[in-house]
């Protein structure tokens, strides 16, 4: 049985690798000059390459590791596969409340969980495999790239000339500044999905999206998880209420929460790994079998010889680009994590599309004009789009939020998923929607309705009249809009009544 499993793992992994980094790949003979040379075949690089190729431009795509970047290999795809298993597993004890008790104590087979993850990754890799890219007419080069001038790149010894270039090298996990942690050993998003066994004790350092997602997922799978966050709340980018609901959800699942706490040292001992932590000046220790470091990501700007190309950069913020994604060299653009503050797959893809349009089609698409939704895939999920309340207030925009609690939404009640809310932020005195925050079981889906609404400029009045299916969790969005119209109708009636008195 074990052999069969190992073989399955091996088969899936071999197919996966044959797609993202074929063993016997031969780099193509370079053309005289490419319309577009792209460094990095992650979400931004792939989106740009496919878009440019479909428009009929000659494209060179250079990847030093695997096609697909973080998202496919070590990010969104594997983490969501693990989270899906954790969700299923965690709902089993709750089945009794639905009148469907599970007869036996559910068991978890971690190797099967990981095998499923690898299978899913293999399947999704099909869409952007090296051979598929070649079939699109894209010249795919594997190797490390560096600039050899303002209009040329070197891949090994091969020189590629370009009219325009796009830097899409992404970002990598930030290295720790914790004494002894390097020697003690730790995992990052790049290595956590290689674990062969479920750790009994997992310490997650960092309370950003990935840290929270994996803390909850591994806790649900059966690890004793402690999450250490230096800030007073998780997800510093999100609003307080959303972050607090996440805190309680993690606590409910059994995650041990250490907020306002810093890890200042690490050592290996007989029992595993010992982390020294400090909270408000008080020191203590926690034990772990595995440590996951998730303290943010830094852009990949090293080893590119950017100075040679006249491209300004910063090792912390990445490539310096203007609103049109052009670098300080007007023929070189950047897209994705290497230059954006929002390091999300969808933001990377969107910026890549813009960069291609601006570089090759002489268009003037501005990154500031795009409205990017994002989501943290905990349970409940936390999603946001547009302005935050504090951002609007900093800009002196009077803002008001219309909030509907998920426990007041019929579909949430029937599904037993009543934690969370929908908040729609509007410019006060108008029905213009400035942003939305959603905390719900499937906030990642609901926020996309808000993306459509905001991108098409629909206001609260029109939204209130849009008929939705019933029952649906998206009913919360309509209820928020209807609260707006009801309030305004009442105010008008009040004015009329006062006028007739």
């Amino acid at each position: 049985m074990q052999n069969r499993r190992s073989r399955a793992k091996s088969d899936d992994e071999q197919i996966f690798l044959s797609r993202v980094r074929p063993e016997r790949w031969e780099n193509p003979e370079p053309r005289n000059r490419y319309d577009l040379a792209i460094v990095g075949a992650g979400p931004a690089g792939l989106a740009a390459a496919e878009s440019a190729a479909q428009l009929g431009f000659s494209v060179a795509l250079i990847e030093r590791n695997r096609v697909g970047g973080n998202s496919l290999n070590i990010g969104s795809v594997p983490s969501k596969a693990i989270i899906a298993t954790a969700r299923v597993y965690s709902t089993m004890p709750e089945a009794e409340a639905f009148g469907a008790p599970v007869p036996n104590e559910p068991a978890l087979e971690f190797d099967k969980v990981m095998a499923r993850m690898r299978r899913i990754r293999m399947r999704i890799s099909e869409h952007h495999s090296a051979h598929e890219l070649a079939a699109l007419g894209i010249d795919l080069f594997f190797g490390s790239a560096r600039f050899a001038g303002v209009d040329a790149l070197l891949v090994g010894d091969t020189r590629l000339h370009f009219k325009k270039a796009l830097i899409a090298t992404g970002a990598r996990p930030r290295a720790p500044d914790i004494a002894g942690l390097d020697q003690t050993g730790y995992r990052t998003s790049a290595t956590i999905f290689d674990m062969a066994a479920l750790p009994k004790r997992l310490v997650v350092i960092g309370g950003g999206p990935l840290g929270c997602e994996l803390a909850q997922a591994f806790c649900r799978l059966g690890s004793h998880v402690t999450i250490v966050q230096k800030d007073p709340k998780f997800l510093p980018r999100e609003e307080r209420d959303a972050a607090e609901i996440l805190s309680w959800s993690l606590a409910r699942d059994g995650v041990e929460i250490r907020l306002n706490t810093k890890v200042v040292g690490a050592r290996r001992d007989m029992g595993g790994k010992t982390l020294k932590i400090v909270n408000s000046g008080m020191e203590s220790t926690i034990q772990a079998d595995e440590v996951l470091l998730s303290i943010g990501r830094v852009p990949n700007v090293e080893d590119l010889d950017l100075e040679t190309a006249g491209v300004d950069f910063d090792t912390d913020r990445g490539i310096k680009v203007d609103d049109f994604l052009s670098s300080t060299n007007p023929n070189i653009y950047a897209a994705g994590d290497v230059c954006l503050e929002l390091k999300f797959t969808n933001a990377a893809q969107s910026s890549a599309g813009m960069a291609v349009q601006n570089a090759l089609m002489k268009m003037q698409q501005q990154k500031s004009g795009s409205t990017i939704p994002w989501c943290t895939y905990c349970d409940p999920e936390i999603a946001h789009i547009g302005l935050h309340v504090w951002e609007a207030r900093q800009q002196s925009i009077p803002i008001k939020s219309f909030t509907v609690m998920m426990h007041d939404v019929d579909r949430s009640i029937t599904d037993g998923q009543h934690t969370g809310f929908v908040k729609i932020h509007i410019a006060e005195g108008s029905d213009r929607i400035l942003g939305a925050t959603i905390v719900a079981s499937r906030a990642s889906e609901l926020i996309n309705e808000m993306a459509v609404i905001m991108n098409t400029g629909i206001g609260m009045r029109a939204l209130a009249a849009v008929v939705h299916t019933y029952p649906a969790q998206s009913g919360a969005i309509v209820l928020a809009a209807q609260a707006y119209t009801r309030l305004n109708e009442n105010r008008k009636l009040g004015v009329r009544r006062r006028g007739s008195e």
Partner: protein
């Protein structure tokens, strides 16, 4: 409900008010004047409770529970202690830069539990100091006024800004300023007003504006409200400041005021009790009061086919939570100045069904009927000073407006309010 159920509303609230006040007297140290955080054995002093106690001495005088001379002597004892106690950056001092540590040893007045030098708790203490400084206005009460003035002037609010635009929540000698500040509307208005009003080390005007940038104006359960979840956050600053009719820039923009806002918050708490989304026992329009307070401690219980998780002492809120079915039994009555009918209806119903929440006429800090302990629900042991002090003050404000009237005439508070941009009404 016993005989509490048979007496008039006025008799009921006076009796509960006197019992609440008596906590502040019963659990004070005779030498230092410090008042215990809770009635539990070995409890340290909470400086905030001392602030409430000081504010309640004029209440006791007015109601004839203490003679003016007795109240003055007790007040003087406390003020002398705070003036003479150690102010330094030593880890066991009583305070530093005019601020005080959150918890102090009842007997020695030294810092305990490695707690923080607390900005908000110092503000609550100093609010009480200013109340007595205004109330004791006779010639032979001059030392009270002088000490009150000196204590206020000594607080270095500007230092507490640590060179930033905002304000941290505290400081520790071991690690410096806490790296978290004030986010969202809450009980801190009194802190900012006192900090801004200082003639010696005032907060910069940006501090208040910076805090207000984090405010959330929401339409929630059918009402517009400046959101804050726990009930107490809508009450603490109001125990001293009468916010009726005075507005800062934020409230002018919203055509409301903070008093009206508390009324809206109370309505939301009642509405939440009525909707009772998590099916907690007893929740209704007349059973509410989700706030900071004692709780059943961390535990998970399977109850009525649901996994329930309960928490210990913590800040609970409505409607975002956390909510584990625990209410503060004193909470409803403390809203008397804002919603007398609702406060009395809820309190009477609570006392009728669960008379155990008010042992010796003093409300417990927390009660959770969903968690069955023996025959009844879970009940917090003993009493908490903050609850008793707030209740005694709020009842007085409802009955006579005494504290509000005193504070209206406090020049420092008026200056602080004006510097925060408040206008109109009694200002």
């Amino acid at each position: 409900m016993g005989d509490l159920g048979r007496i008039s509303d006025e008799a009921l609230i006076v009796r509960l008010q006197r019992a609440a006040f008596s906590y502040l007297s019963d659990y004070a140290n005779d030498d230092t004047g410090l008042v215990a955080d809770t009635s539990r054995q070995g409890s340290p002093c909470s400086i905030a409770v001392v602030g409430f106690a000081l504010s309640c001495y004029p209440v006791a005088v007015r109601n004839g529970w203490l003679s003016r001379a007795d109240a003055g002597a007790r007040t003087l004892n406390i003020l002398r202690f705070f003036w003479e106690s150690t102010q330094s950056d030593a880890s066991d001092a009583t305070g530093y830069k005019g601020f005080y540590y959150h918890f102090l040893d009842m007997r020695t007045g030294r810092r305990v539990w490695q707690c923080e030098l607390s900005l908000i708790d110092t503000a609550l203490l100093i609010a009480g100091v200013l109340v007595v400084g205004c109330f004791f206005d006779r010639d032979d009460e001059r030392e009270i006024r002088e000490l009150a003035d000196a204590l206020y002037r000594r607080v270095d609010w500007r230092w507490a800004q640590n060179g930033s635009r905002g304000l941290s929540q505290g400081w520790k000698p071991e690690s410096g300023f806490l790296h978290y500040g004030w986010e969202g509307y809450n009980e801190a208005a009194i802190l900012y007003v006192l900090g801004l009003g200082s003639p010696t080390f005032p907060l910069t005007p940006t501090a208040y504006v910076t805090w207000q940038l984090t405010y959330q104006w929401e339409n929630l359960l059918g009402r517009d409200v400046l959101y804050s979840g726990p009930l107490f956050t809508h009450l603490f600053s109001h125990a001293w400041i009468d916010f009726r009719g005075i507005r800062d820039a934020f409230m002018r923009e919203k055509a409301s005021d903070y008093f009206e806002n508390t009324k809206s918050a109370i309505a939301i708490h009642r509405e939440y009790g009525e909707r009772n989304p998590y099916g907690f026992k007893a929740y209704s329009r007349d059973f509410w009061g989700v706030t900071a307070g004692d709780g059943p401690n961390d535990r998970e219980v399977r109850s009525r086919r649901r996994d329930r998780r309960f928490f210990g002492y913590m800040s609970r809120g409505v409607p975002y939570g956390p909510d584990d079915g625990t209410i503060a039994p004193w909470g409803m009555l403390a809203t008397l100045p804002f919603a007398a009918e609702a406060a009395l209806a809820g309190t009477r119903r609570l006392l009728e069904i669960y008379p155990q929440v008010c042992p010796e006429d003093r409300f417990s800090s927390g009660f959770n009927p969903t968690l069955r302990v023996d025959a009844g629900g879970w009940l917090s042991e003993g009493w908490y000073g903050l609850d008793q002090g707030l209740l005694a003050m709020m009842i007085e404000n409802h009955r006579t407006g005494l504290i509000w009237e005193i504070v209206r005439h406090c020049g420092y508070v008026r200056d602080g309010l004006k510097r925060a941009g408040f206008e109109g009404g009694w200002l």
